[in-house]
């Protein structure tokens, strides 16, 4: 249990979450928007929905998942505050 393992696990978590961050905004909302727009949700294309709604909801989930996972990780490596 050392600090460099803690840092590596942290980096891996950040990388996964940022991949999702990129996918819902840049990929679904911009690059693939026309393709996704073929799927319709209530009068708008799915790509449009991701660009104006879906990406924001996903961002929220990402931050809370990160906060929760990091708090667990802090304890696992015994680097948390107020010991």
């Amino acid at each position: 249990m050392n600090k460099s393992d803690y840092w590596k696990e942290n980096l891996r978590l950040v990388a996964i979450l940022l991949a999702i961050w990129f996918a819902v905004s840049f990929l679904f909302g911009i690059i693939l928007v026309d393709t996704l727009n073929v799927i319709r949700v209530g009068g708008v294309g799915l790509g449009f929905w991701f660009a104006q709604q879906g990406s924001i909801y996903t961002f929220l989930v990402l931050i809370f998942v990160y906060t929760k996972k990091m708090n667990t990780l802090d304890r696992k490596y015994d680097v948390h505050e107020d010991k």
Binding site: A51, F59, T67, V79, K83
Partner: protein, 593 residues
């Protein structure tokens, strides 16, 4: 009650509230002035961050841009929320662990260099001042409508109020006031949206309203809007892009990394008690921001639909289907008097024709109706949110509420930004570098004088804003994105980046961005000095000046890493400092040095 009376009542009551809170929580020490003494709960801090963050650009300007750019305006929605993910994952917890007052302080210490600190101060001031200019535009629009004066007078009055308000408070006062301002602004934003969504689609939740069918039929609301705008030659709402897909990509990225590099937002994460709280604060801030940001697409699209339907009351081409100028609604007259809405009866028929005369196919068709060009010669996008409840015929108290909300948004952000400018001048430049021996009292005084100077400068540029409020603000993001964010991120994630690398990187990044903005928008935004002209054929790969910050940021990263490889390595004690920042344990309250 009369609209004017109601507006005075709402604005007066909310202002009394803010000033009351500011006096009650008045800062007496530098620690309270800069970071509220670090004792603020994550939810409260998240709410204050949201108010700090959501400015005139978000409240007043963004829905207007959405209304006219449709899908293309998604860059603002994604860009101004996605940055919080970067902030939470890459910066906030580490900067909190580091535990100092200001962003330049971190950069100065991590890169063991006073030069780095000074460069950071300059970048910070450039970004913040540009940002305040954007706020001033919004404040000018709100006051001119509220007091029924022209835009310039509105701006002067707004400057006076910002001055009194932010110079007094400091961070502690600002934080509590911002919580009140958040409540006012979010209420003011969502109430009319709920009414309008209910009117148009029958669904009271705006986020679902945009996915619903019209209240009076089976067509989806968005399909209807697409039809209405394309019938008049405008681009289809849900598919029109902003420039190009590449420009949208760059724009979104710039706004995201700019969010994570803006000092007045980062300072927020110094105000929480623990590293754990810094992570949570980013999440809570985004919750409160998302309430407005997911409502904005509904406000924008429905305002556009109402606007089009007000002017074009029946089938396109029928003479009586265009509203008569003499019968124009009250809101139209009110906005005409601010100079932000202009009508010109080009074909002299006494009716208003509003269509896209730049669309050649449609312009030819319009000619056959006897139309001689678009007669709505000026529709300032920034008026849409304020005009929206009037266009939708909502009760007067809702309109008054929106004015109060717009002012809350503009004031809270202006105050936060001015504080960031003040702290970087008084704390970083004066106390940190030039005159370390000054007392706390003198430092506070210097901070307040710096705020006053910044207000005057922003007001001057506010008279000739380079763009709509949101556009001006976007330039500020470009500057922050290209200078501060890369320096902070590398400071935490790359132990090898050294003093020379960081300084060279920041200078390269911000220079590239500024040069690009100035060559297209004028030197210091002065009209007529843009030597390349602000038009898309002259843009680098079609990337607009507002979206260029991410290119500057890439250059910053590349130069910093390259220069670091060629110069002396980072000393051991700094490497240990970075290792220490990376783990939460042992974080104390923020300390002065």
């Amino acid at each position: 009650m009369e609209l004017t009376t109601l507006t005075y009542l709402f604005v007066g009551a909310t202002f009394a509230l803010y000033i009351g809170i500011a006096i009650w929580a008045r800062a007496s020490t530098t620690s309270e002035f800069y970071v509220a003494g670090k004792g603020i709960h994550p939810v409260a801090n998240g709410m204050a961050t949201a108010a700090d963050w959501m400015s005139a650009a978000s409240f007043i300007s963004m829905a207007g841009l959405i209304a006219f750019n449709g899908y293309g305006a998604s860059v603002f929605l994604m860009g101004w929320t996605g940055g919080y993910v970067l902030l939470a994952l890459l910066l906030a917890p580490y900067l909190r662990k580091f535990g100092k007052f200001t962003v330049p302080e971190f950069i100065g210490e991590r890169y063991y260099s006073r030069t780095a600190r000074i460069v950071a101060v300059i970048c910070l001031i450039l970004a913040s001042i540009t940002y305040v200019i954007g706020q001033m535009k919004g404040i000018g629009v709100a006051f001119s409508r509220f007091l029924e004066t022209d835009y310039d007078t509105g701006l002067y009055i707004g400057m006076g109020i910002v001055f009194i308000y932010s110079v007094l408070g400091g961070m502690k006062g600002i934080t509590y006031t911002q919580i009140a301002q958040y409540c006012v602004l979010i209420f003011a934003y969502t109430v009319p949206a709920i009414f309008i969504s209910l009117n148009i689609t029958g669904n009271p939740i705006p986020q679902l309203g945009i996915l619903s069918t019209m209240a009076d039929g089976n067509t989806y609301m968005m399909d209807k809007l697409n039809l209405v705008v394309s019938e008049l030659g405008f681009n289809e709402y849900t598919t029109q892009v902003l420039g190009s897909k590449l420009n949208m990509f760059a724009y979104t990225l710039t706004l995201m990394i700019g969010t994570a590099g803006l000092p007045h937002v980062i300072i927020r994460f110094f105000t929480v008690p623990k590293v754990k709280d810094a992570r949570a604060t980013a999440g809570w801030a985004l919750v409160f921001i998302a309430i407005l940001y997911t409502t904005a697409p509904a406000v924008g699209s429905m305002a556009r639909l109402n606007l089009m339907n007000t002017i074009q009351t029946g089938p396109v081409g029928e003479v009586t289907a265009n509203i008569e100028y003499d019968k124009r609604p009250g809101w139209f007259k009110n906005w005409e008097s601010t100079g932000l809405l202009k009508f010109e009866d080009k074909n002299g028929d006494g009716r208003i024709q509003y269509y896209n005369d730049k669309n050649k196919d449609f312009a030819a068709k319009a000619e056959s109706f006897g139309w001689k060009g678009n007669e709505m010669v000026k529709v300032d996008r920034d008026i849409m949110v304020l005009a929206n409840p009037e266009i939708a015929n909502l009760p007067n108290w809702v309109i008054a509420l929106v004015v109060a909300g717009g002012l809350a948004a503009a004031l809270s952000t202006a105050a936060g930004l001015l504080l960031a400018i003040a702290s970087s001048i008084s704390h970083d430049l004066l106390k940190g570098i030039f005159k370390p021996q000054i007392t706390e009292k003198q430092e506070l005084m210097a901070g307040r004088i710096a705020m006053a100077g910044a207000i005057a400068m922003a007001g001057y540029f506010g008279l000739h804003p380079p763009d709509f409020a949101a556009g001006t603000v976007a330039i500020a993001f470009g500057l922050a994105a290209s200078s501060i964010f890369p320096a902070l991120m590398m400071g935490i994630f790359n132990k090898k980046v050294n003093r020379a690398g960081a300084v060279a990187g920041m200078i390269t990044g911000i220079s590239i961005t500024m040069l690009y903005v100035f060559q297209h928008k004028g030197i210091m935004f002065i009209p007529g000095t843009s030597f390349l002209g602000d038009m898309s054929p002259n843009w680098f790969f079609g990337i607009s000046p507002n979206a260029f910050g991410c290119v500057g940021a890439l250059a910053n990263f590349a130069v910093a890493i390259g220069v670091s490889k060629m110069t002396a390595p980072v000393p051991d004690h700094i490497q240990h400092l970075v290792e220490d920042i990376r783990i939460p344990a042992g974080s104390g309250g923020a300390t002065d040095h």
